[in-house]
Subunit: 243 residues, 2 copies
Amino acid sequence: MPNPTAAMLVIGDEILSGRTQDTNTNHLAVKLTEVGINLREVRVVGDEASEIVAAVNALRTRFDYIFTSGGIGPTHDDITADCIAEAFDVGISVREDARAILATNYKNPDVDLNEARLRMARIPDGADLIDNPISKAPGFRMENVHVMAGVPTVFHAMVESVLPTLTGGEPLLSITVRIEAPEGEIAARLSQMAKETPSLSFGSYPFIQNGLFGSNIVVRGTNAGHLKTAREELEDLAKSLKA
Amino acid sequence: MPNPTAAMLVIGDEILSGRTQDTNTNHLAVKLTEVGINLREVRVVGDEASEIVAAVNALRTRFDYIFTSGGIGPTHDDITADCIAEAFDVGISVREDARAILATNYKNPDVDLNEARLRMARIPDGADLIDNPISKAPGFRMENVHVMAGVPTVFHAMVESVLPTLTGGEPLLSITVRIEAPEGEIAARLSQMAKETPSLSFGSYPFIQNGLFGSNIVVRGTNAGHLKTAREELEDLAKSLKA
């Protein structure tokens, strides 16, 4: 059985304007790879309802798991929860369990849990809450869509809350061999290896370091024996080019 | 006239597996914002022809400018140029001008310009070359799609080659005011300001720093006077919350 697939949707004008470097995608990618779930697509859209709804609907039907990041805070530009409700065509309202969780964050909930903060307790009908041990305001899961915060520390904590609920696949193993020669010198041999061992995927990731052109060859697969053979062949190739 | 729009397509399994943190998007976003071009969507897909072609075709009809990063090297997993030809339904072959540029990179082009490297001279019919001062192998522009390298130093250089050819819009100005209070304390006032000044966009980007909850309020727009007023009001708000 092939591994489950996933997509990530990053929501926020600040990523598109260049103000903020998204790092949540990389964090999620590493975590999913560890448990054998294949991240297959990432999209970034701005704080624009029509674009968020369209992206959620395009992705949730094509992949097993969807993860979103951003837009679930208390301010007027936090519209992700409403967009999810719209995408699934369900209602949304302040939910008592979410409100109770939020209330634990404040000394005086009657005063402090103002209208803006109550926005964070608005949950689409039928969703399950995702625990937020950092700042309390929960994320939520609506069918296969996991809606999480944009602030990296909170996103990371929510990913930890979600991971045990996912069904993983065969963990993808990988080896990396650094070859200090331009890609063009090794491309033919690499292509041949890829053809000979269809159980493995061969990626070549070129670098330029202090004027030296080289490439990291990353081989991925679930068969440890095949990977070991590939590593030996690549190390021989690396040596032969250095000599 | 509204500013021109843009989308970025990042191509590469290494981003989706978490091995590599994409930074090209952020670099492009900053550069486009400076010249008044609005980056509106980003997608990341793997080294899979059908997904690259579908993404290129989905984006190139919706936005003024498309930029891609990755998959134009000499190895078997570098399939971006072929995918662009397929997306535009045009032919692709080794082009003499591209081959001549590549040849300048080698002491002995007759030997060194092997079959793998010649892949980098395969250019879709009708495309213009994009200069690569770092490692010579050119990118190319096919109508509104700019195809560039994934290696950051080369990507940056290609962006510099491309920028003068783009028609920019009104540069977006922005101010940032740091407020050391939780978002929930300022959300109502912020929402009011956003309603009062529709010429500006108000974003709230929360942070958690040493246990302190706060938010950077970023206001964007093209009217310097409106921005100045917004800054004064936000600074007053920040002071009132500290007192």
